[in-house]
Subunit: 125 residues, 2 copies
DNA sequence: CGGCATCCGAATAGATACTG
DNA sequence: CAGTATCTATTCGGATGCCG
């Protein structure tokens, strides 16, 4: 029990919403990647290394819809489409990078806990 | 690489990892909920209102495995199992709440962007 | 009360082929 | 090069039934 706990945390609802929007497998990766600067479709695909072309398209559409990225079509031959973060997208980078820093700092602790848990499971059945 | 760009964000990898662990539909909700204090299984289920017993069990197992929550069994009749955040879990609350605050503050902007996008799609095909 | 096993439907993600 | 459409495999998540 936490004595004198504020219990004012209504973070549940908004966290759930933001996670429903960018909590999928690729959205955050794309946002972080675009945080390095505008990129074209194939550059993103190369940078993300593992995403399928379909998923990249779907993810970018969703991010564009929610106002995180812009899509610029250059009417050239061959076609060239560039994606960039909006102000909202850059804004999102703040808390996302905070989470990233946390993960980088505490990832080993998570790994250790997992190893411990698995060892106990194996030993105690 | 973008010339003259900061490019200090190597948050890609860790963000991906933390998202793979707590980016599912319920994990963060459970963590935030437990941030209010230790709770037993049925309390959590009531508080989350919508989660199935199977998912709650699965989610709690995952969080326990990664060292975010502890599971305490009271050998009473009827049985009583309580869950609480570990120090790592409380630590996670920081960046998660930051993300929650951001979502609460910018949710309207996301909604507006979405409405705008949908309107353009309807108008321009 | 807490939890596991099983089955089933829905949603997701990937491969492939085709268009402009 | 960028994107769409289709098909399929995998995963997710819920309902049910049984156990300690």
């Amino acid at each position: 029990m936490i004595p004198g706990h504020p219990h004012t945390t209504d973070s549940c609802r908004p966290v759930s919403e933001i996670l429903a929007r960018v909590g999928d497998k690729w959205s955050v990766l794309v946002v972080v990647q675009l945080g390095c600067g505008r990129m074209r479709f194939s550059e993103l695909r190369r940078a993300l290394a593992g995403i399928s072309q379909k998923m990249l398209t779907t993810t970018l559409r969703g991010l564009e819809r929610d106002g995180f990225v812009t899509r610029t079509v250059h009417p050239t031959v061959p076609p060239k489409v560039e994606y960039a973060l909006t102000e909202l997208g850059f804004d999102l980078l703040g808390p996302v990078k905070a989470l990233g820093d946390w993960a980088a700092a505490n990832g080993p602790r998570m790994d250790a806990a997992r190893a411990r848990f698995d060892a106990v499971q194996a030993g105690a059945g």
